[in-house]
């Protein structure tokens, strides 16, 4: 299930209740300060797979195609994968862009935070910045993962804020749905699932 958590676009009516866990994570970890010509939003996804499997996919800055259905392939510049690294993403055909150059802004393996900023490419998403966090939770008595992704981006000429938010949310929903499918498949295939705190 994908839900929306209020950003400056005030989608409060779509808040998904979870004993305050989500709103607390959003408040602490997903801070964006959108300018007048920008839009922002936050999405959540509950995945029936242990957090270590989900995080391993999310943190693969050099292999986003493992779960992102829009990516054809990806090349990281330089030898060391660290904050500040750049990757050149090639997008699949038939989509509204062909390339995207992206910078790794945050990578925290303890708190499970990944931050990425778009710095080039032929897409129309100027100053796009996103934060993804993953958090352990229990689903039907089994280890699951709460994924939260938030973004901020300039509204392109010719589009409204609402349209831009809708489009970016559509892309993220596809990414999160695919992330769920891939990690749940991995969870089924792995022989044992270690218990996470």
């Amino acid at each position: 299930m994908v839900g929306l958590v209020g950003g400056s676009t005030a989608r409060a009516e779509h808040v998904v209740a979870n004993a305050g866990g989500e709103t607390e994570y959003v408040r602490r970890l997903h801070r964006h300060a959108p300018a007048e010509h920008q839009c922002t939003s936050t999405l959540v996804k509950h995945i029936k797979a242990p957090v270590h499997l989900v995080w391993e996919l999310v943190r693969s800055f050099d292999q986003p195609q493992r779960y992102k259905p829009f990516v054809r392939n990806c090349v990281v510049r330089g030898d060391q994968l660290e904050v500040g690294s750049l990757r050149d993403v090639n997008v699949k055909t038939g989509l509204p862009a062909t390339t995207s150059t992206e910078r790794l802004e945050q990578l925290d393996d303890d708190l499970h935070i990944l931050g990425v900023k778009f710095v080039g490419g032929d897409h129309r998403l100027q100053n796009y910045s996103s934060i993804i966090t993953v958090h352990p939770e229990s689903i039907d008595g089994r280890p699951g993962t709460l994924v939260i992704e938030s973004f901020v981006v300039d509204v392109p000429d010719g589009n409204t804020k609402d349209e831009t938010c809708y489009f970016v949310e559509a892309v993220i929903k596809c990414n999160l749905k695919s992330l769920a499918e891939v990690s749940e498949q991995l969870a089924v295939e792995s022989p044992t699932s270690p218990i996470d705190q």
Binding site: P69, F70, P96, N159, E163, A170, V171, V182
Partner: protein
């Protein structure tokens, strides 16, 4: 990368009929009219109904013929022999009518024209008068990835009602990867043939039931079209279901494929599909996406007839359907479903459901003897070449009376005609279709299309 192929399928080898078939349209029109008015018409219908069971049996070998170049002849059998008898009688009648009709010229034209509408109801016209020759060409163009696919299957199967050959041609323009268009190329014709066999059996049973009950509501033409539409709709649905299971390596399997490519997400990989079925004097076109089928009618200057309508998200009815499904169309380098996909229908694209559907829109068009050719192509061509220009280019190529001395490509499909005249026509026809497709492809590249280009040209005339 360039892929090209050409071939001819001219059924029958009747030497007596060829001069007539190659000549002007008037005798053919009069033949049809006379045949319909024959008092023996009901007798023929009764005779046709009798061999029903044997025709059902004949469906089995037809359904199993999935090779790229199926043989049009069935194995000899007593049921085959008995099934042929009505056709032989029909043949003799037509020959006789030719002799009669040729004598009075002027006065006969008016009655024929006046009865134009009833004429469209003609049933079981001999296959020989509806020639089919074809050629195709695909080019990657400026795109580095080739994701288009073409499927050419003349004499794919036979129609249960009368054994007429059914010819299958398709163009599939993939996006996000090539494995869905490859799946369409490899499996669509097989699945459609299975569904046609199934619908054919149903058609025969319903016809028998209708005849037994003395129902006057039976319309052979409408029932045939209903059957063909149902077969194509089910064929598209089945291939779309396969696409959800297709791996980038080409395997369609459950559980998931475990090859190295299995990690590549296939949620946004899809394909258009424009498919043409040619059976007797009718063109049946099923389209899903923004490839296109266009009929070039003669003589020169006659407007082309679109046989499909592009599924673009900003087409008013498509936009309404998308919004009713809870989606939106956002302009993002073009009008796109969710701002993501530039077409409103496609096979595959699992993650864009329910807005993006795989249901084809189907048209059925009556052929005329003036028809020049049928063009199926991906939007890589139609984006830069209008229907009018495409038809004019194709017409000129096909009318060219100076073919090269030897065939550049071996033709596929079709039986070996016995008549020398047909053989000569077959050899000459192939390179013209190929040349038409090739010239259109080069024109599209010259006009800087950014996409893959795939073109199928089907010649609808006997050309000497």
């Amino acid at each position: 990368m360039v892929m090209a192929s050409a071939g001819v399928n001219v059924p029958g080898g009747d030497e007596v009929r060829n001069p007539t078939a190659a000549s002007a349209s008037t005798p053919e029109c009069r033949m049809r009219r006379r045949h319909r008015l024959e008092p023996q018409g009901s007798g023929d219908a009764a005779a046709a109904a009798a061999p029903g069971p044997s025709w059902v049996r004949r469906l089995r070998p037809a359904a199993s013929r999935f090779s790229p170049s199926p043989s049009p002849s069935l194995s000899p059998s007593s049921s085959q022999s008995s099934a042929d008898r009505p056709n032989d009688e029909e043949q003799e009648e037509l020959d006789h009518e030719v002799e009669v009709e040729l004598a009075p010229a002027g006065p006969q034209l008016e009655p024929g024209e006046a009865e134009g509408e009833p004429e469209a109801e003609a049933v079981a016209v001999a296959p020989q008068v509806w020639p089919v020759a074809f050629g195709s060409l695909s080019m990657a163009g400026r795109m580095r990835m080739m994701e288009d696919a073409v499927s050419l299957h003349p004499d794919l199967c036979t129609w249960a009602a009368d054994g007429s050959p059914m010819h299958f041609f398709g163009v599939f323009d993939g996006h996000g990867g090539s494995h869905v268009s490859a799946l369409c190329r490899d499996r669509m014709h097989e699945v459609v043939a299975e569904e046609l066999a199934r619908e054919g059996a149903t058609f025969l049973r319903r016809r028998q039931e209708s005849a037994a009950s003395g129902s006057a509501a039976w319309s052979e033409r409408a029932e045939e079209e209903r059957a063909w539409r149902a077969a194509l709709q089910r064929g598209f649905r089945r291939v779309d279901d396969m696409a959800a299971l297709a791996c980038a390596c080409g395997r369609v399997a459950r559980p998931s494929c475990s090859c190295p490519l299995a990690g590549t997400s296939s949620g946004i990989v899809g394909s258009t599909a424009v498919v043409a079925l040619l059976v007797r004097g009718r063109l049946v076109v099923a389209n899903c996406g923004d490839s296109r089928a266009v009929l070039c009618r003669g003589p020169a200057g006659t407007p082309p007839v679109p046989l499909s309508s592009d599924h673009k998200p900003n087409r008013a009815d498509e936009k309404a359907r998308i919004e009713a499904a809870g989606g939106r169309v956002v302009f993002n380098n073009g009008h796109r479903v969710r701002g993501i996909l530039a077409m409103s229908r496609a096979l595959g694209d699992r993650l864009l459901r329910p807005e993006v559907i795989a249901e084809p829109e189907i048209t059925v068009t009556e052929r005329t003897v003036e028809d020049e050719c049928l063009i199926l192509a991906s939007d890589g061509m139609w984006d830069v070449i209008s229907n009018d220009i495409a038809c004019n280019v194709a017409r000129q190529c096909l009318e060219d009376g100076n073919p090269p001395p030897a065939d550049p490509t071996a033709g596929g499909g079709g039986g070996a005609p016995a008549a020398g005249v047909v053989v000569v026509a077959a050899r000459e026809a192939e390179p013209r279709c190929l040349r038409a497709a090739s010239l259109l492809a080069r024109l599209a590249i010259g006009r800087e299309t950014q996409d893959n280009v795939s073109i199928v040209v089907v010649d609808l005339k006997h050309r000497d």
